[in-house]
Symmetry: C2
């Protein structure tokens, strides 16, 4: 049975790799992006997540009912773009998802691309909720000024918001017979890796060294394809870290978990 999946940010990086994996599995792909592409895409729809009119048109231009949608498009932490990062990565993605509801089949799987960079949401709950109350780019620009949010913080905040938004809509989606999950990649070799290296510096370099290498878009795409597929259908409201162990290394250090290995390992294994 042919299934149809939508992917935002399909022209490059993880989105392009996901289109390739899904096509190789025999699925049909609707690709959404600013940049036109037909590689591994059965139908292309232009989409600018910073533009409300574009979001509405893209949803309306969706040619087939979808069995799943991967909200993958996002901006990295680059200079002078804080408001736009928040708009594209969170507010616009949320708006696009709402607009896409009539285009999703029963049983459809939504996959939101979050990030390991969003995993410290516990420390920022109030700020995340303030962001969630905004809709317009001008409101977001004022919020960025008022709260002195730099691009790195904007990126992290946008992903914190994606994680909590995913949790918050899980129950409504269950009622609609749609399911939603998030993925949290860390340190992936895409065209925007240099932006992350600049933004996250030494911490990221150390993580990559311990993991042995950065991850590849294909490695994330294979997991995204599984979460889109019916085989994972009891996964709802889950977040999956895809980071080659980087999160576990950091948790082990921070919490002193070497003792968990047992007395005969002397906590030094």
């Amino acid at each position: 049975m042919t299934r149809t999946y939508g992917i935002t940010g399909v022209a490059s990086g993880i989105g392009a790799a996901l289109a390739q994996v899904l096509k190789a599995q025999g699925n049909r792909v609707v690709g959404y992006d600013l940049l036109e592409t037909y590689e591994n895409v059965d139908h292309f729809v232009p989409l600018d997540l910073a533009d409300k009119a574009s979001i509405r048109s893209a949803a309306m231009a969706t040619p087939w009912m979808l069995d799943g949608l991967c909200n993958n498009a996002g901006l990295p932490p680059v200079a002078d773009q804080a408001a736009k990062i928040l708009q594209v990565n969170f507010t616009g993605t949320r708006g696009f998802t709402q607009a896409m509801m009539p285009h999703l089949n029963a049983g459809a799987s939504l996959v939101n691309m979050a990030s390991r960079a969003g995993h410290k949401w516990h420390n920022n709950l109030d700020q995340i909720k303030r962001l969630a109350g905004l809709q317009q780019l001008e409101q977001i620009a004022r919020f960025v000024d008022d709260e002195a949010i730099d691009p790195t913080r904007a990126y992290n905040l946008s992903k914190e918001a994606v994680l909590l938004w995913t949790l918050s809509m899980t129950e409504e989606m269950v009622h609609r017979d749609i399911r939603v999950n998030s993925l949290s990649p860390g340190g992936i070799a895409t065209g925007i890796l240099d932006d992350f290296k600049k933004a996250f510096g030494m911490q990221m370099a150390k993580n990559v060294e311990r993991a042995g290498r950065v991850g590849t878009p294909e490695e994330v795409a294979k997991i995204a394809a599984f979460v889109l597929s019916p085989d994972s259908h009891w996964l709802k409201g889950a977040d999956i870290s895809i980071d080659g162990g980087m999160g576990a290394f950091n948790m082990t250090d921070a919490l002193g978990l070497a003792v968990m290995l047992g007395p005969d390992k002397g906590g030094t294994a």
Copy 2:
């Protein structure tokens, strides 16, 4: 290419379902359990995780090198079994895993069955570390007395320990070219579901009602099979909740996340 996977607790529940899924995918299965079974099992090895000698023999009796091992065997929260629950679910499982290291191929995937019941580990870090320092059943029995641990707490503690142990060994496993992840099912329809209902009461009933039903062993098994497979190979030190949304519902309530849906949903969607 035929791959070979080991499963503990293969005679029933999620273990039996996983054997079926892996066999259907063309893999070879080595099954470990107290109860002898040959259903979907190419080779059966008796294993009592409460018995050190049995753990050693079972590892030695493993007939083929494994491409993955699912540490699935575990006791539910039943009366008068607190020490044994800790021993089987955590200490014995950890010992068996250490004994199995020489039987794992390069690239092998370890999957530890944790539980949603272990997700409150943040509150119990010191107790979990004290447990991790114990090896012998008599030590564990004394610990259970000293800390007044009832069977429900023992179950939760055993799963908290499995989660943190998984994190703690991620880096060592990377160095061995083995990877390890955990799964956290919640509310699954196995033979031990009634034990969980008794132990967790109303909270669990409410979660199941909101999710619409309990999950099935097959639903967990399909996800376990994916995490065992090479397609998920960049997953390391990750924990995946498999609960039909129950964790997300509880987080949304506890953190007041309805606002994340946005102003036009009025936080009431």
